[in-house]
């Protein structure tokens, strides 16, 4: 194994990990903090990718700009979904089994709708930075990976600040710990959860834009990400954003090494294998609470 190949694989893994952090942060909020098993999350990410694709293809807008523009729309979508979920499952005290089936159905519906509208062709975006890269000695930094990674880190930092410094952010953390106590502090737990869930869906707009910059997208790509997001979320310890970042970097590095030294067709199994092992041996994750 040559040193420069090793270092390049390591750096590619770190860049990939930064992107994975953006993909997972929404799940860390909805699943980790709110205990809502939103397996439809990757479906909304793909939806974000397709919106970025349309804006880029028709109007020539930069995908990341599109991601920022549609943030409010995704926020609203998340609020609506939470309301439906709350009215039909949480309030009635239904067993979580049906909530799971509900999100599984949503995932399926978004995927099939996208197939019906766009077909199963791979779509990609055009932006000036996609083909360029920075070379530092033998280290190669493709901008198509570097830019999503940096913006993703910024997004994570902002979310972490929001969750720890603002009133609503702290209320979101509190709702995970003790809903009744929060109610006694005169905060409406349903409203707080709705805001948190809406934020988690809003992150999909950004993650979707990153995804289509990094790789061409077709509707069923989302499925590969189900395993990745939950693997990272569980690996990092549920509901902790720094944990999410560590988990994402770890998975990125492991996948990058697998792809470099064994071939890319083994990469999907890595995430799931890691997830199975974590679940079997350390369910509370690296930074478990």
């Amino acid at each position: 194994m040559s040193v420069d190949l090793f270092i390049n694989a390591l750096i590619a893994g770190l860049l990939l990990g930064g992107f994975y952090a953006a993909v997972t942060v929404g799940i860390s909020i909805s699943f980790g903090i709110l205990d809502i098993v939103n397996i439809a999350h990757p479906g909304f990410i793909i939806l974000g990718s397709y919106i970025a694709y349309i804006a880029n293809d028709r109007l020539g807008i930069d995908p990341i700009a599109t991601g920022i523009i549609v943030l409010p729309a995704f926020y609203a979508l998340g609020a609506v979904i939470y309301q439906v979920y709350y009215e039909s499952f949480e309030r009635r005290g239904q067993d979580p089994l049906r909530g799971l089936a509900f999100f599984f159905g949503l995932l399926f519906i978004t995927e099939v709708l996208l197939i019906l509208v766009f077909g199963v062709d791979y779509r990609y975006v055009k932006a000036p930075y996609i083909d360029q890269s920075i070379n530092l000695g033998f280290v190669n930094l493709p901008l198509r990976m570097l830019i999503p990674c940096l913006i993703s880190l910024l997004m994570l930092a902002l979310l972490q600040l929001f969750l720890t410094k603002t009133f609503i952010g702290r209320a979101i953390m509190a709702v995970a710990q003790d809903q009744l106590a929060l109610q006694l502090m005169a905060a409406d737990p349903v409203r707080i959860k709705r805001i948190a869930f809406a934020i988690s869906i809003a992150t999909c707009a950004m993650a979707g834009a990153f995804l289509i910059i990094i790789q061409p997208v077709e509707p069923s790509v989302g499925r590969e990400y189900i395993g990745r997001v939950f693997a990272i979320c569980v690996l990092g310890g549920l509901g902790s954003l720094p944990g999410t970042l560590i988990g994402a970097m770890l998975l990125g590095i492991v996948e990058s090494f697998t792809a470099t030294f064994y071939g890319p067709s083994w990469a999907p199994a890595v995430a799931f294998g890691l997830l199975l092992l974590t679940l079997a041996f350390r369910p509370s994750g690296i930074l478990g609470r």
């Binding site: 909530g99 019906l116 069923s220 067709s265 083994w266 999907p268 199994a269």
Partner: protein, 313 residues
């Protein structure tokens, strides 16, 4: 009703179905009917774990594919008659079910569901990288045109699947009325209380995953002969996972009749939609129905019937 009596009645109904399809004089009905029957087996198998014990399995497609690839493997090494393959596939898938149970059943609820999804992808990657059974290129299975006694090969496959669905339904009904079934129900209602009351929950859950996995594998075994060409993406298709969840949920998860009703309704509807609209549209239909039913009628069709009966009485 005694179980053997139920089995006999099921056999009579099965024979009537078979006779009815022969009278239609159209091979298409055997072809379409096979798919519906296959979904009866899958839905019933899913319900043994998902409906009776309350553990959601998203990996149905994996067990199904294990069954299908067992057939492909033996087709290449040492061709065996399909009934033997069904038994072998059942054993292999059952062992995988047991293994998955050991790894994941200490986890409650959502984690188990995610782990099954993970297992499906791991298995798919293994198959994609396993060249002997075709890898990502897929494998061709040339099926004989004719078979002794019955004649038409599709008719033979139909008959096999009919037999399997009768067995699956009988097994599900026996479980429901036995100590095993009450144990399962206690896990579903309150696992902690069940364990405190001395129910051997881990053992029961392992029995449920093994049985459920074995039946799904058996449903998959004849599939390569039916389809003629098997590739990982079709064997691990999301439609199996979605259908085997949607059918019991729509029919009702608490009794053997639920998956049967759901599979017959949804299966027929899908066959109709595939022919008249498009195959993507029929999947959309399943997704929408699943979401509507879990929101509006959480106990499925059986639940609706029951509540209407209660109102009258």
């Amino acid at each position: 009703m005694r179980s053997w009596l139920f089995f006999l009645i099921a056999c009579v109904v099965g024979a009537a179905v078979y006779g009815g399809v022969i009278l239609l004089h159209n091979e298409y009905y055997f072809f379409a009917g096979y798919t519906v029957l296959q979904f009866i087996v899958l839905a019933t198998a899913w319900n043994i774990l998902g409906g009776y014990t309350g553990y959601v399995n998203f990996g149905s497609a994996a067990f199904f594919a294990v069954g299908a690839y067992t057939s492909v493997f033996f087709h290449k090494t040492y061709p065996l008659p399909i009934p033997v393959l069904i038994v072998i596939a059942g054993v292999v898938a059952g062992i995988i079910g047991l293994g998955m149970g050991y790894l994941t059943l200490r986890l409650r609820g959502a984690f188990f569901a995610i782990a099954t999804l993970a297992m499906a992808v791991v298995l798919q990657t293994l198959i994609v990288n396993w060249d002997y059974v075709g890898g990502s290129r897929g494998a061709y299975i040339i099926r004989p045109r004719e078979i002794a006694v019955i004649g038409n090969y599709v008719q033979y496959l139909f008959l096999l699947m009919l037999g399997l669905s009768i067995i699956a339904l009988t097994v599900a009904r026996i479980i429901e009325r036995s100590r095993l079934g009450f144990g399962f129900a206690s896990i579903r209602d309150d696992e902690l209380a069940a364990e405190a009351a001395g129910v051997p929950t881990l053992k029961l859950k392992l029995i449920a995953t093994t049985l459920s996995g074995a039946l799904m594998g058996m449903a998959g075994a004849p599939f390569p002969y039916y389809i003629g060409y098997l590739e990982p993406a079709s064997a691990f298709g999301l439609q199996y996972a979605v259908n085997s969840i949607a059918m019991p949920m729509i029919g009702g998860t608490t009794s053997w009749a639920g998956p049967l009703i759901g599979a017959v309704l949804l299966g027929t509807l899908q066959q109709w939609a595939t022919v008249t609209i498009s195959s993507a549209a029929n999947l959309l239909l399943v997704g929408v129905l699943l979401v509507l039913f879990v929101i509006i009628a959480p106990k499925g069709i059986l639940g609706l019937v029951e509540s209407r009966r209660n109102k009258k009485g």
